[in-house]
Symmetry: C2
Subunit: 392 residues, 2 copies
């Protein structure tokens, strides 16, 4: 077995939505393809991966640094002991050769896309869905099962709108999610005043039916004072969780919110390495059995590093079911199922071509079942198939 | 005043050297040029900046994200109140538009190169050296003065060598540095066994003359056990400092070394944002009046963010003279002088075309004086002038 070619391509995200901090209309994602010398039905087997959503495509780092290092490596050094599969850890360390420690930002997304393409390829070599390959690699059950999935939406419309039309838009959005089979929801906060955000939360709650079905996400927007002010105001709603109250690296602020707010808090989507997660555990006041971890393999050096994070959580008394990876897409559905995580996210209708699940996935009672298509099954998703089908 | 054009160019580093973690032979640096509509001697004034050394060029992030955002902005929004200079903070926030919080890695270097080019341009608009522009902007003395500069070398030769030839190579290297006017030195450790590293340290000490003139740098290589083992073994030498014993984000390890090792420790070159530095101050056990901070503006979003770090140090009882920015080059010489820092680094003969200072700089008694060439004076450095002279 041998890699013939590694390609990367920058894909723009469709649709204009905004959270409290950013407008996604100019955002891109890196899609990576690893072509190997093994074939199915006369065509080379290709592994695909991408670096999730929200942190931009990483074409420069892939093209200038990581892909050349892999091309320069002894091909056999990139394989497992028997030479039958690609070795994700070996590929990661080769792609990271001559990179200094620290600074876990864009390059973590570049490697994420690349390393996940390895998992897609390995699963396809065995003609099996990726959740099964992942489960086997990390000692979990390989049986078919579902993940709890919540629908994330409730973005601010760029340009804004008045309170009443915003409330009815939110209710309609959640009603649509419910009609699609979702039973838990997440909306954005922090992009408006507290009063106006509370109107949004109340409108969403009318549709969600219970606080336990509705999470809110501030996208790291608040300073300590405002985070605590929101915590006080949100407490009576008994929400599913309060996400990223402050800067994702401000562990002290997170600790203060965890002390003041009895409900679950969620964070981690902007922590891209095991050492950053270790710091969250050491200093952030996260509570075993209660709080939620949202690290996203595609943004954080891939599954190899993600499993290091899970191990460190478990070594500190946390349960892997407290993990709900950021990024509502097929890759993280397979990760959540394969690793028995708490669940994952879905973005019905936005962040195309990456967001959401293909029609072939069963959805019901707030759960999504991956199909048994080989790999992550990205080819089953219409919007992605268009891009993949003639490339490479 | 108006920006006509922003260009970026990837420049390979010359010379093959290695520290405990990486080989620099494939490394690159991003050089940024900002061309404005003001002229000197009939030619447009151009500001140049680069993202220091060690974390790779950032062409992709500059071209795909930051430069397009600046091009799309209202030109007047990028100027100071009177429209006479570029506003470094406004340019930084525009270049970072629609970027999520956290993940301070490669993009911090991309913005570093860009923001420093703004300072070079602003200084040239007033026909003055950058240290003076920087000093005026941040309320320091604008008089000409020097910075304490130490010579950093003592790299491992790629491929390795025997202990004796390594010792004599180290002594010859430090003797050469001394002949150039340097009185303090730094060598690498952590790329060999402790015993062999101690032979290196002893050889270097023979030439340095005193522990207070010799720092050692482990480049984040050690785990806690090995960091403490080195700390114990190094303690009797009374070294200038022990640099980056462990992972730059492992504040707990840094804290443990600070508790066990009475001499100064140095870290920060791989912390790229004010919040990462805040975490070092909160959790890392750094000691006012003793330890050394090496954050590097070119790798950390530029001078605007760097000054936030200095303010946070001072608010926590530290002295700015504890700061010795990583990256031995002209930009950080002007930063060290303009902000009255403890000093900066020099890499005599390596990391060309960026490393070191032009012949026009006075060097003596372990200090370097910037010249009064406009801006950072990069055009005075022969190796850089070759690149700059026909570009853009």
């Amino acid at each position: 077995m041998r890699i013939l070619e590694i390609r990367e391509r920058t894909v723009p995200l469709e649709g204009g939505v905004a959270n409290a901090v950013i407008d996604f209309s100019g955002h891109t994602v890196s899609l990576v393809a690893i072509v190997c010398d093994r074939k199915r039905c006369g065509r080379p087997i290709v592994g695909y991966g991408f670096n999730s959503i929200g942190r931009h495509g990483q074409s420069g780092i892939l093209r200038d640094r990581m892909i050349p290092r892999l091309r320069a490596a002894d091909p056999s050094s990139l394989l497992d002991g028997e030479g039958r599969y690609l070795d994700p850890a070996a590929i990661s360390s080769t792609a990271m050769r001559n990179e200094k420690p620290g600074g876990h930002g864009d390059r973590a997304g570049a490697l994420g896309a690349l390393e996940l393409a390895v998992w897609d390829l390995n699963a396809k070599l065995d003609d099996e869905p990726a959740y099964r390959t992942i489960a086997r690699a990390f000692g979990r059950s390989t049986g078919r099962r579902s993940a709890s999935v919540y629908a994330a939406g409730g973005y601010y419309a760029p340009g804004g709108s008045d309170s009443e039309s915003e409330s009815s838009r939110l209710r309609a959005e959640l009603a649509h999610f419910r009609a699609l089979g979702f039973e838990a929801f997440k909306i954005k906060i922090g992009g408006a005043t507290l009063d106006r955000d509370l109107v949004r939360v109340e409108a969403a709650l009318e549709e969600a039916g219970a606080g336990s079905r509705l999470a809110v996400d501030a996208n790291g927007r608040f300073d300590r004072t405002r985070a605590l002010e929101y915590a006080r105001a949100l407490a009576p709603f008994g929400l599913r969780w309060f996400e990223e109250p402050g800067d994702p690296l401000d562990y002290q602020l997170n600790h203060a919110v965890a002390e003041a707010y009895a409900g679950p808090i969620a964070t981690g989507e902007n922590l891209f390495s095991a050492i950053d997660v270790a710091n969250l555990l050491r200093y952030g006041g996260m509570r075993p059995g209660r709080d939620v971890f949202q690290m996203d393999p595609g943004l954080a050096y891939g599954l190899t590093e993600y499993v290091r994070m899970i191990e460190s959580l478990e070594a500190n008394g946390f349960d892997r079911r407290q993990c709900f990876p950021h990024g509502g897409h097929l890759i993280n559905l397979h990760v959540a199922v394969g690793l028995d995580l708490g669940g994952c996210e879905a973005y019905p209708g936005v962040f195309q071509p990456f967001g959401g699940y293909p029609a072939e996935c069963d959805v019901g009672a707030g759960r999504v079942w991956p199909t048994d298509a080989p790999g992550f099954g990205l080819e089953q998703k219409t919007e992605l198939r268009r891009i993949i089908s003639d490339w490479p």
